[in-house]
């Protein structure tokens, strides 16, 4: 094993018992907005992972040089610089997806997970654990986004990553795509169901 058990916990914990969406209920807004299709959900997940990881490392390196009173402004400068870079990269290399995501790429700045990890972890830890923590939380977020997007795209549009997967014969027998899946309320209900299943499997997480 390359990673020590402590490091592995940092990286893999957010994928299950410390998941930002399921347990801390952070980053819900974008989880509802970009999960109608798999492709934007995947791109959004990768972008957030990159921003969380890089901003955690940079701010962890700067952590002794930042005066506590102005730390939020410094964090915002770093995060927004990274988000602008991501936005430009998407516009240059994945223009269609960038169009679909529209303002939500810019709104990564306000994603609670990023600021949350910086405040709660990166400012008090060394760069290497901060990097692992950032990657882990970003992946945990991307994982839930992909689960929700899988069901929404499959049942709502009958496709996955834009490719039709439900055979045409089903439609001729009377199957129809579910329009509610495309609408944001169903994303909220699906996130709720995922949280329900997760709590049922991890009974220690159930709130009294």
């Amino acid at each position: 094993m390359i990673l020590s058990s402590h490091d592995r916990r940092l990286l893999l914990g957010p994928l299950n018992k410390n998941n930002a969406i399921l347990v801390q209920i952070l980053g819900i807004c974008s989880a509802l907005a970009v999960t109608a299709k798999m492709e934007p959900a995947l791109v959004m997940g990768i972008s957030v992972t990159a921003v969380t990881a890089l901003s955690s490392v940079i701010l962890s390196l700067l952590r002794d040089a930042i005066p506590t009173r102005v730390r939020i402004i410094v964090q915002l400068v770093v995060v927004s610089a990274l988000v602008i870079i991501i936005d430009q990269l998407l516009k240059a290399f994945a223009y269609d997806v960038s169009k679909q995501l529209s303002v939500f790429v810019g709104l990564i700045i306000t994603n609670c997970i990023i600021m949350g990890r910086i405040e709660a972890f990166a400012l008090a830890n060394k760069p290497w654990p901060s990097l692992l923590d950032g990657i882990g939380n970003g992946l945990g977020y991307a994982f839930i986004l992909l689960i929700v997007a899988f069901f929404r795209e499959l049942l709502g549009s009958g496709t996955l990553f834009g490719l039709p997967v439900i055979p045409g014969a089903c439609y001729r027998w009377g199957y129809a795509n579910n329009g509610l899946m495309i609408l944001p309320p169903m994303a909220l209900i699906l996130v709720g169901i995922v949280i329900w299943i997760h709590r049922a499997r991890n009974k220690d997480l159930i709130e009294p």
Binding site: G174, A176, N178, G179, L180, M181, L183, I189, W196
Partner: protein, 383 residues
């Protein structure tokens, strides 16, 4: 009947703790209390057991629904005969309707009851009669052309997400039957609106609009007031005949199960808003030509006001709260009909919206009462 009782008594031990079929005890007790009045009495605390328990309440509502249901079944056959131009007798029209509607009722009951039974088993709860009414209401608010699997899916959604998640009968925030219709409405919009969904077996190329759809498209409403009152118009299965709904309303009011405050205030709110819009809208707006009576007779207004808004679980509980709740349902339903370009009918959305706000209304009424009584107490001590 004696033999049935004896049969139940004979098999009872197997379902009790330690028995062979202990896992299915709530199915057994559910069946037992469905067939016979339970001999149980309250053991602890100070409680009053009314003769009118959940089972009796639900049976009365089912009875009240019967006129509208039977008429709806006949109307399905009547509309079918009308568009196809067949000249068939009354009995045949009724049988055709039965052939179309009965499967919908069976699907709704089978799906809903199996989920309720399963949920009760999992939780160790007793089965109760809460779904008896919802299971009948669901097909009655659907268009007759709704495919059975869509009804099954909508029912499952309403029972799981709308009811069981919140803790089962009596704990739900929204009316389950309307939630099923809302799911159907937003999931498969082309199956629940438009000109081709309201009449069973409509020949290709023909269309048949409901009165509300006509108003929505800006054409004058063709059926006369009398036809709309008796109900020989296209529409969802149970909603067309205002006369039969009034029969049901009478039973609900006599037995005291439906709240007259909610029914009356809903009609007042709807009539007031309809009157206002009729005069306030510019003459080129089609809804300025729809009269108050047409608004009250068309679509699901009467059905919603009598059977949906008065649902004792999801409606407001306090007296003044019921008035506010009903008035707002009437007003919002007509506003959605006339001012929202998206949907021709607004009763479903109005009731679901007010279901959401009912606890808040009750809370305000209770708080107002509390402050008033505190003030009265202060005045008394000062004097």
């Amino acid at each position: 009947m004696k033999s049935l009782r004896a049969f139940l008594d004979k098999h009872k031990p197997a379902f009790e703790k330690g028995g062979k079929y202990h896992l299915f005890r709530s199915v057994f007790t559910g069946l037992d209390s469905f067939l016979y009045v339970p001999a149980r009495t309250t053991r602890s605390g100070c409680a009053i057991r009314d003769a009118i328990d959940l089972k009796r309440t639900m049976s009365v509502v089912v009875l009240a629904l019967l006129p509208a249901l039977l008429f709806g079944i006949y109307n399905v056959g009547y509309q079918h005969a009308r568009v196809t131009g067949e000249d068939v007798a009354f009995v045949q029209q009724f049988l055709y309707g039965l052939w179309r509607v009965l499967p919908m009722i069976i699907v709704s009951y089978v799906v809903g009851l199996s989920i309720e039974f399963a949920a009760a088993q999992l939780r160790g709860h007793e089965i109760n009669e809460g779904f008896l009414v919802s299971g009948l209401l669901i097909p009655m608010v659907m268009p007759v052309t709704a495919p059975l699997w869509m009804i099954a899916l909508s029912t499952a959604f309403a029972v799981i997400i709308g009811k069981e998640i919140f803790g089962g009968t009596g704990m739900n925030i929204w009316n389950p039957a309307l939630l099923a219709r809302a799911f159907f409405f937003f999931s498969y919009p082309s199956r629940v609106s438009g000109d081709t969904v309201w009449v069973a077996g409509l020949p290709d190329g023909l269309s048949c609009a409901t009165p509300l759809a006509e108003a929505y498209q800006g054409t004058p409403i063709t059926p006369g007031l009398e036809t709309m009152f008796w109900g020989l118009i296209p529409g969802s299965i149970g909603e067309t005949s205002t006369f039969c709904i009034l029969l049901g309303a009478t039973l609900l009011l006599i037995t005291g199960i439906g709240s007259w405050k909610i029914m009356l205030s809903t009609v007042i709110g709807g009539a007031g808003m309809a009157l206002l819009l009729q005069h306030a809208l510019p003459a080129d707006n089609p809804y300025s030509h729809v009269t108050v009576l047409q608004h009250l007779l068309a679509g699901g207004f009467a059905f919603g006001a009598v059977f949906m808004a008065t649902d004792p679980v999801t409606a407001a509980q306090t007296g003044p709260g019921k008035w506010i709740y009903g008035l707002l349902i009437g007003i919002i339903a007509i506003v959605i009909r006339a001012l929202n370009p998206g949907y021709p009918e607004g009763m479903m959305l109005a009731i679901l919206l007010m279901n959401t706000f009912a606890p808040l209304i009750d809370w305000c009424v209770v708080q107002r009462n509390v402050t008033r009584r505190i003030k009265r107490g202060r005045v008394a001590t000062r004097a």
